[in-house]
Amino acid sequence: MADTVLESAPDLLMDIDRVEQGDVETEELLINMGPQHPATHGVLRLVLRADGEMVIEAVPHIGYLHRCAEKIGENLQPYQYIPYTDRMDYLAGMNNNQAYSIAVERIAGMEVPERAQYLRVIFAELNRIASHLVAFGTYGLDIGAFTAFLYSFREREMVLDLCEAACGARLTYSYITIGGVHDDVPDGWFDRCLEFLDYFDPKIDEYNQLLSFNQIFVKRTAKVGVVSAEDAIAFGLTGPCLRGSGVKWDLRKSTPYDGYEKFDFDIPIGRPGGTDEIPHSVVVGDSWCRYYVRLEEMKQSVNLIRQAIRNCPEGATLAKKNKTVKLPDDEVYVEIENPRGQLGFYIRGDGSSIPARVKARGPSFCNLSIVRHISNNCLIADVAAIVGSLDVVMGEVDR
């Protein structure tokens, strides 16, 4: 076995170089950005090697929020593990429940009633809206615009109210469960939801006026942290980060789950500046594109929820209320489209009701790994813009 005790990051121990530029002598500076820093969205630690305001290298260090989620998965029955999936990506609890539930259903061969599938779509998309709202608001904060944050939380509050009406929880729902959804929605819920959608739809244009097309905002984010489509695929970027680079790839279209094939919706991607309403300085794959894809996705989510409510059939919402699921001696790997990208669950059964191995592939984990490669030779302010545009949730990176 290799040495169990490793030296701390070797690239941090290098000597501080002296860079000479003409008659001005500057010194490189190592700066700790995080784990407690307003722009790192949690406990991400970035070690910046900076020459004045210029960042020469940014090395991410993660693990401050590691809670042994995979080990816990090996000790609990699938039903018991559902609440732990909420805590991974705590901004998109519904989608995490959904991913784990689908994985267990595939391995155990369970069928999901049709109404439950529609409800899953509704709640997954509602949660996508809530999650993208946080991404939008906190990105505004990163760039220094405060008001967008409060606007987004005003609307997110209403989404949370809707979720609370269905399952009683506002953040860690455990609503989508193995074999369907936990309970049917209360009477009149669909009307309230439609009322919210009518209210929310024009708000996205308001956000665009306030922030997206603001000259200062565009200047801060356009051409910052550009990721080419090839790089994005090679580094395993998924979700809005991949689509921001111009790749029209979405698991809801390519490998539909939970009946997504019945819906009609678009996949927004990053477009070059000058087309339609996009500002001229934007290039495909920069921070602005990644940000704007999220705003456009919210529109598509509204569209999806409207369709789901219109077509939602009556019927059961849970296949069979079991206390335990027997997992056969087999393995599955299931990926679904989370607000941040492809969330994968690998489950290996061994014939008992407790899985032998649970592995979660967090989209933020992969998205974050590109930070080191795109934050070379940018300014300190750009690091905040880049990390914000990747929209990482540390709970899921560290699991």
Binding site: T4, L6, E7, W249, S254, Y333, Y346, R361
Partner: protein
């Protein structure tokens, strides 16, 4: 392309290196030998028929009964050729490598798929699989001075870490290991 065809292509190309395959599992995979893995990985990525450009995930697996560790590479193809069309699903596949539990070592593919960088570090951190040729193989989630590999089935929870007492509840609640 169906998993059988993919497996057939691999077998015809690499012969003995593809040791086994499980095509009717929940997740079809081919078992390949560790030595030839970089060659196979490069082929998987570069071959025109396969073109697996996205490495989704590396799952490490502890097979205590067989005294082996396994790494499962889930790969997928995003058929992107510079067009902004909606991309249809082509195929996905998994490659499995089993190594001896006492000296687990697999060649790194971080050169081929940069995404493998952090996934391999995670597998090293959690299971102790050493990825030869990895540019920066160190712990990623656990602290640098952590002892042991937590996801191994025979892992013993430390009694103490840097003066912080470990919980004794662990033994009461989790008698499985």
């Amino acid at each position: 392309m169906a998993p059988e065809e993919i497996c057939g292509i691999l077998k015809s190309e690499f012969g003995e290196a593809v040791e086994d395959a499980c095509l009717d599992c929940g997740r079809p995979y081919a078992l390949v030998s560790a030595d030839s893995w970089p060659k196979i990985a490069r082929f998987l990525r570069d071959d025109a028929r396969l073109g697996f450009n996205l490495l989704c995930c590396i799952t490490s697996l502890d097979m205590l009964a067989e005294n082996k560790l396994a790494a499962i590479y889930d790969v997928c193809r995003i058929p992107f050729e510079g067009k902004a069309d909606l991309l249809e699903f082509v195929h996905e596949f998994a490659v499995r490598i089993e190594v001896d539990r006492d000296s687990p070592s697999i060649p790194s593919v971080a050169e081929i798929w940069p995404a493998a960088d952090w996934h391999e570090r995670e597998a090293f951190d959690m299971m102790g699989i050493v990825f030869d040729g990895h540019p920066d193989l160190r712990r990623i989630l656990c602290p640098d001075d952590w002892v042991g590999y937590p996801l191994l089935k025979d892992y013993e929870f430390p009694v103490e870490y840097q003066g912080i007492p470990g919980t004794t509840e662990h033994e009461l609640l989790s008698p499985r290991h």
